[in-house]
């Protein structure tokens, strides 16, 4: 009746129990708050069934922030374990639990934080920057979000019911195969990644079509903001990389559920094929994660230097070349796993080549600031932190791209320090820059700048303290995923430093949360009524903050790069004051329902609850057919309503 699910699955050790209980109480607390404020209907109408990309983008950000808390808690636990588990002490975590934590940490941060940032920013910024009212496929966009969100919820469920995978964030076979991981852990991992991956692919198709097809009049490809270019290249990578992940996970699923022999140790299976294919996806994935950060910095650096971006064309070409090359370097993730020197050399050279266009971008940002009027507001501060940390980490990447070096430090903490420099120094700092930069646009409130700066310095110094020792530890022979080590190694002081750094970061994150709360509480002090607090250059800054649901009452016409600067200088084409009725897609609950059914399906498959899998699957198919048999219904916003909204803004005639 319940497959493999028994009461045993609900039993956990102390720390896990505490996590689950706090999660459950948190959820109950939010539900209670909604009841108290009588906001269920509002939540349903304004958010859960919305197909407005601005709303969906904010929901992505909410999921990102929640999952970041989970992933960061995992990180703190790992750091604490490694700071205390020396010599006779075994630290605070059981080895099995430690393995679950590092697996969950990576999975959460990459799939639910990183990809959430990518699509959250795409939803919020792209339609506005291309002068469009909506995305190409509003329904699919919403569906992509709900699949992502429900996969994230599945990962939270895996905390409370049963155990998570202990096979790392990529689940290499044979360890992740049926023979060595017979339990529910790897199945949880497979379904949450697979469901999120399908959501990502759908959203990727949506945004590529949006950018290609829905730009406003006059906005040729060469007049798009660099942020939009970065999302375009990012979506191309998503569309062509994620199918490989889908197929590979599919084959692992078949191994585990139908006893096939793709990646098993016996039966003729070849687990290196998994490693090969998963990294053929995995390398484009890391570029997918970083491109929105690159795009953000192109916007931020130009705006806060009061200068046009230097070398627009070379920036675009750099993005395109990096996107193309990202598909040809993947073996550098497994130099040490048996390939010969010719193979290693080819991929080493390709990896080194890909560093070149990245360097071009860094120099172009620097040249943008040269002779500009640089404002050291927090979005710009995050750029400086990125500049230092990402570049240093990138250089260690070039070091690692040489196979002889990689043989020495592969899978050591040197590698960990490298990629955390890329994802924290690059992706996360880019996200914080984007967050402080665009927060005023979507809320009409400017974040408290003082608190921003305190948080920044905590993150910057905390990151350096948490990860520079890891480079040293890597050279000293410390491997990754260690839950215990000898005192004679001499590693202990460095691990303690790293733990202190993590705590400083934690303090910085707390300041960020408090800053958000404080800003929301003191709205009047932080209100921005202009819609353009930073003297922006791109189209989103010409709308109210927050923008009306239709974005633009009159679709703008563009004749150059940085169209809002052109407007300010009177160089833009005069818009005609002719309001028309605006058609907007209506709300729909089907993406939410399909997401919930996908969650149930993933859970049922994990626990081998046959009937529930079938029922939920049929449900998904039924809803799909229902949707695809209906008509696209639209709400019409009449000219009178549009005029009223525009008049309320004030600065329009």
């Amino acid at each position: 009746m319940f497959g493999n699910l028994t009461w045993e699955a609900f039993r956990h050790d102390t720390i896990q129990s505490m996590a689950v209980i706090s999660m459950v109480f948190g959820g109950i607390g939010i539900a209670a708050l909604l009841f108290y404020l009588k906001r269920w209907k509002w939540l349903w109408k304004e958010w859960l069934t919305s197909v407005d990309p601005k709303r969906i983008g904010i929901m992505y950000m909410v999921v990102v922030l929640v999952m970041f808390c989970k992933g960061f808690s995992d990180a703190l636990l790992l750091r604490m374990q490694q700071a205390f588990s020396v010599g006779d002490s075994q630290g605070l975590l059981e080895p099995g639990h430690f393995q679950e934590i590092f697996s969950a940490h990576g999975t959460t941060m990459i799939f639910f934080v990183g990809m959430g940032i990518v699509f959250g920013l795409a939803n919020l910024i792209v339609p506005l920057q291309i002068g469009a009212r909506d995305v190409a496929y509003p329904f699919l966009n919403a569906l992509g979000f709900w699949l992502f969100a429900m996969a994230a919820i599945l990962s939270l469920v895996s905390l409370g019911i049963g155990h998570f995978s202990t096979a790392g964030w990529l689940a290499y076979p044979p360890l992740s195969g049926l023979e060595y991981s017979p339990g529910e852990g790897v199945d949880y991992w497979i379904w949450m990644v697979q469901i999120a991956g399908v959501g990502s692919t759908i959203s990727g198709i949506n945004f590529l079509a949006t950018i290609l097809k829905m730009r406003c009049p006059g906005m040729t490809l060469k007049k798009m903001p660099i942020f939009v270019w970065s999302i375009l290249c990012c979506m191309v990578m998503v569309i062509f990389a994620f199918p490989i992940l889908t197929a590979t996970l599919y084959m692992l699923t078949l191994d585990r559920y139908l006893g096939m022999h793709f990646f098993t140790a016996g039966g003729g299976g070849n687990f290196m094929m998994y490693v090969n294919l998963i990294w053929a996806w995995g390398h484009p994935e890391v570029y997918i994660l970083i491109f929105p950060a690159f795009g953000t910095f192109s916007e931020v650096v130009a705006t806060f230097s009061e200068k046009r971006i230097f070398g627009y064309l070379s920036m675009v070409w750099a993005l395109i070349i990096i996107a193309v090359l990202s598909f040809i370097v993947w073996l550098h993730h497994f130099f040490t796993m048996g390939a010969g020197p010719e193979v290693n050399a080819f991929f080493a050279v390709m990896t080194m080549v890909i560093a070149i266009p990245t360097g071009v971008k860094i120099f172009n940002w620097l040249f943008t600031k040269f002779r500009g009027r640089v404002h050291f507001s927090s979005p710009m501060l995050w750029f400086f932190a990125f500049l230092l940390n990402f570049t240093v980490a990138g250089m260690t990447g070039v070091l690692l791209s040489a196979p002889p070096v990689d043989y020495q430090v592969h899978n050591s903490l040197f590698l960990i320090a490298h990629f955390h420099g890329m994802v924290i120094g690059g992706v996360l700092f880019g996200f914080f820059s984007a967050f402080t930069y665009w927060f005023p646009k979507f809320t009409g409130l400017v974040l408290d700048e003082k608190l921003n700066k305190y948080a920044f310095w905590c993150w910057f110094s905390g990151f350096l303290l948490a990860f520079m020792p890891l480079y040293m530890l890597g050279f000293m022979g410390a491997t990754r995923r260690l839950n215990h080590y000898d005192a004679t190694t001499g590693w202990h002081p460095l691990f303690v430093l790293a733990a202190v750094g993590a705590l400083i970061i934690f303090f910085g994150a707390c300041i960020q949360v408090y800053g958000l709360y404080s800003t929301l509480k003191n709205r009047s002090k932080h209100r921005d009524r202009t819609g353009d607090p930073w003297n922006g250059r791109t189209l989103e800054w010409s709308t109210a903050s927050p923008p009306p649901i239709y974005n633009f009452a009159i679709i703008p016409t563009v004749n150059q790069l940085d169209p809002v600067w052109a407007m300010k200088r009177d160089e833009a084409p005069r818009p005609v004051c002719h309001y028309e009725d605006i058609h907007l897609p209506i709300n729909t609950a089907i993406p939410l329902y399909m997401g919930i059914l996908a969650l149930i399906f993933g859970f049922a498959m994990t626990w081998h609850i046959g009937w529930l899998s079938i029922v939920s699957f049929i449900g998904i198919v039924t809803l799909l057919i229902l949707r695809l048999s209906g008509h696209d219904e639209h709400d019409v916003m009449t000219v009178a309503e549009v005029k009223k909204i525009e008049a309320a803004r004030g600065s329009y005639g």
Binding site: L212, N270, N276, A280, G338, A339, G340, D581, H583
Partner: protein
């Protein structure tokens, strides 16, 4: 959104014709018969046979892309063609490099 074309205008966007389907069908039929015949009768053999069948398959794929799927017939800008081209690039890259890598690993294992 306000100036959505009507059904007749949309039909003009569809580029299929009876002629293209008949031509595609006959070409595919002949190519299929040729491939099967070559293998059944074995008039040629060895690597040459393999290359020929593969070539026939690729030609038929191109025929179906052109005559059934109408690739290349869309209006400018030809996004479908570009997207297909990039997919093909990625596919060949992954295929060739993967086969090279796996063969290299296999050789070194033995």
């Amino acid at each position: 959104m306000n100036s959505e074309p009507n059904l007749n205008e949309i039909k003009k966007e569809y580029h299929g014709t009876l002629r293209s389907y008949i031509q595609g069908f006959i070409a595919s039929l002949l190519l299929t018969l040729a491939s099967f015949a070559l293998v059944i009768t074995r008039v040629i053999s060895g690597h040459f046979l393999i290359y020929t069948i593969v070539a026939l398959g690729l030609i038929q794929a191109a025929v179906q892309l052109r005559f059934f799927l109408k690739l290349g017939h869309e209006d400018h800008p030809r996004w479908e063609t570009l997207v297909f081209g990039f997919m093909l690039f990625v596919l060949l890259l992954i295929a060739i490099c993967s086969l090279w890598i796996m063969k290299n690993l296999n050789d070194r294992l033995m």
